[in-house]
């Protein structure tokens, strides 16, 4: 049963075999597998339970419903916007459905440099298969590649660059294009319509509006999760208390370390909240001669991997991804005001966006902020990462022009750069990417409770169990030992599946 605590009222007191915190790509999978495996499961989700009827395709209505801090979460210096879901289903409700398995080179890196020899592709295969079947992962059809992605593909192919049409997790997609505002048609196979109902059907008791704020562990290893019933603005309406021998923490790579740090547990390594990777991204806009309405159709289907070769160097590189927005999101990404700004907006229907997403080595940090709803996020680019992002600007512009753009705009907040075909693109590399000078964003924060075989250098082991606290597991992007270098949805879900099955195999000893 999915209970909206704000509507029910009162406090929440529960007992279960397992308490799962979070309902995103990690938590929903863990909850469903554990409940299906016979465990009594209580799930706490701080966000609300919105469904397709609530997804209105209007930006000013959907951004506060679906995003942490209503989409305004930022690093402390304001340089990076960090987008995360805050609703039942987590970020999978607003993501754009790229469905990649963990790159083999990254798995080898984790095995070799993070003492995780058991984390092989073979070991993960059953988890990948279960996840992909449940999420209905399939190739995007050629007929589903929209105008935006066709432009990007044309550009890449003219340049002879490596790229491909990806897989996704949609079923019966009508190509409306509002994926980032929640799917009004339940075509997106997010956790909201797959694993959450599966967990519900298996008997998990799922509570929306329940924010975990502290985990207590007694001498016998029993755990209590304490928190509050919260509204969207963070105001409290009641208390939450769940007792369980096993806790699976899956609140995301910002909230999970924040909760551990607030609880004062699991940090013998001193690494909780550290090693934050963001997969930072930077975007340029191209303008075609004719309207293409880039916001219609599947937003992301083509993927350029020319500038990442994880087999050669698993530590660096970047990919290029198409991006489209709606008027408000688009308007706020461009500099200036008044008529100057409108001159850019006038090209909205002809606009094609392309972003570079960096496989970053830069490491940031999450620490508790003034309230559990506002953790402090610090992050700064290393010189090499800054150099790569600067180089990516040139490559983005090359693709846009090769794809037919008549004009390309680099949206520096001060003195934006406009280029025409034939212009010298090195101006972009020279201007480069510096925090605070051009919009930078992250949709994939990760690695803040990293996995590793050596407890001195990792927070959790190969199954996501905290080295310091038996029975406390982490099952979200926090556990990635390094930046993933690829869209993370399937890896997150597969690792959570593996964690859940590990818990089931160790039961009842783990529950005693």
């Amino acid at each position: 049963m999915i209970t909206k605590l704000l509507e029910r009222g009162g406090d929440l007191v529960e007992r279960a075999d397992v308490c799962v915190i979070g309902t995103g790509a990690g938590g929903a999978v863990a909850a469903a597998e554990l409940a299906a495996g016979g465990r009594s499961v209580v799930v706490l989700e701080q966000g609300h339970h919105w469904t397709k009827a609530d997804f209105t395709q209007r930006e000013h209505e959907m951004l506060p419903r679906l995003f942490e801090e209503a989409g305004m979460r930022q690093t402390v210096d304001g340089a990076f916007t960090v987008l995360q879901g805050r609703n039942v289903g987590g970020s999978t409700v607003h993501n754009l459905c790229y469905s990649f398995r963990t790159p083999p080179a990254i798995l080898r890196l984790w095995q070799q440099e993070h003492a995780l020899p058991e984390l092989t592709a073979e070991a993960l295969e059953p988890s990948f298969q279960r996840v992909e079947a449940t999420l209905r992962v399939k190739p995007i059809l050629e007929t589903e590649v929209n105008a935006l992605n066709r432009v990007i593909r044309t550009g890449a192919e003219k340049l002879g660059w490596s790229g491909f049409v990806t897989k996704h997790n949609r079923e019966g997609c009508i190509g409306a294009g509002y994926c980032i505002l929640g799917c009004s048609y339940d075509a997106k196979q997010s956790m909201l319509v797959t694993y959450v109902p599966k967990a519900d059907a298996a008997g998990a008791r799922i509570y929306a509006n329940a924010r975990a704020e502290r985990i207590e562990v007694d001498g016998s290893g029993r755990k209590r999760v304490l928190g509050r019933i919260v509204g969207h603005g963070g105001e409290a309406y009641g208390s939450v208390e769940v007792e369980a021998p096993v806790v699976v923490l899956a609140a995301g790579a910002i909230a999970s370390p924040d909760l551990l740090l607030r609880s004062g547990i699991a940090n013998g390594s001193g690494l909780v909240g550290r090693s934050l990777h963001l997969h930072p991204s930077v975007m340029l806009a191209g303008f075609m001669e004719e309207p293409i309405h880039a916001y219609r159709g599947i937003p992301q289907s083509y993927y350029i991997d020319e500038f990442i070769d994880l087999e050669k160097d698993p530590h660096r590189g970047y990919v290029l991804m198409p991006i489209a927005g709606f008027p408000v999101l688009t308007a706020t990404q461009f500099p200036g005001f008044g008529r100057d700004h409108y001159r850019t907006m006038r090209g909205f229907s002809r606009m094609v966006g392309l972003l570079a997403l960096l496989h970053d080595r830069s490491e940031g940090r999450v620490t508790p902020g003034e309230s559990p709803a506002k953790p402090r996020i610090e992050y700064a680019l290393t010189p090499d990462d800054r150099r790569q992002l600067s180089e990516s600007l040139v490559h983005i512009a090359q693709v846009l022009f090769a794809g037919g753009a008549a004009r390309v705009l680099a949206p520096y907040w001060s003195e934006p750069v406009e280029l025409r075909p034939g212009d010298d693109l090195s101006v972009l590399a020279a201007r480069g990417v510096r925090e605070g000078e051009i919009p930078l964003a992250s949709t994939h924060p990760q690695s803040t409770c990293r996995m590793g075989g050596d407890r001195r250098h990792a927070v959790v082991n190969a199954f996501g169990e905290c080295h310091d606290v038996p029975g406390l597991f982490v099952a979200d992007m926090s556990v990635f030992p390094t930046s993933l270098g690829a869209p993370p949805q399937i890896t997150t879900a597969a690792l959570a599946d593996r964690t859940a099955h590990h818990v089931l195999e160790r039961w009842p000893r783990l529950g005693s």
Binding site: D54, H60, L63, G71, M72
Partner: protein
């Protein structure tokens, strides 16, 4: 009218940074404080309520310049629900984020005096002078002023470009769901 007491002098760096944190989605913050209330999505009320009348006038004149298109047929800020939409959004924001907004508006009003040494208020300036004042904020060497500018600018953009009447200006065809099909 809610109580407010933040004097201009209390606009701390932190406060401005909070304002600066408002980006595209800052605007989207604007929902009422409880989720059930947000689900009801009350339309903007008959008149602004978050901002006092004087602040509303400052905000309106700021927004008019920030979203000026120069197009003869463009819907004006005053004939759309741009300002009520911003007001309704701010009503639903966490007070920790919005508490300084009224004071920030007054800083914009007195910006010409404070930063340009001109004996004039923003709302008494001609359009070209208003634009010059805003450019001063946008290009200031003080990061706090730039961030405050971005926060107010993004509110303006949200308020204006969420109005259906503005979509033809930019060639946006609009949502596929008609009003009757949606709840919220």
């Amino acid at each position: 009218m809610r109580e407010r007491s933040a004097p201009l002098a209390s606009l701390s760096r932190r406060g401005f940074l909070r304002l600066g944190a408002a980006s595209a989605a800052f605007v989207a913050l604007a929902q009422v404080r409880t989720v059930p209330a947000a689900a009801q999505a009350a339309p903007p009320g008959p008149g602004p309520r978050f901002f006092a009348p004087r602040e509303t006038e400052i905000l309106t004149q700021l927004v008019e310049r920030l979203v000026d298109t120069g197009e003869p047929g463009a819907p004006s800020v005053r004939e759309t629900r741009t300002i009520p939409t911003i007001d309704a959004l701010c009503r639903g924001l966490d007070p920790a984020l919005t508490g300084l907004l009224p004071a920030a508006l007054r800083l914009f009003e007195w910006g010409p005096l404070l930063f340009d040494r001109r004996l004039a208020r923003f709302t008494r300036l001609a359009d070209a002078e208003k634009d010059a004042s805003l450019r001063g904020w946008m290009t200031s060497r003080l990061a706090l002023r730039r961030q405050a500018f971005l926060a107010v600018r993004n509110l303006a953009l949200l308020g204006y470009y969420s109005q259906e009447e503005t979509w033809p200006l930019v060639g946006y065809a609009g949502p596929l769901l008609a009003g009757a099909e949606r709840r919220g």
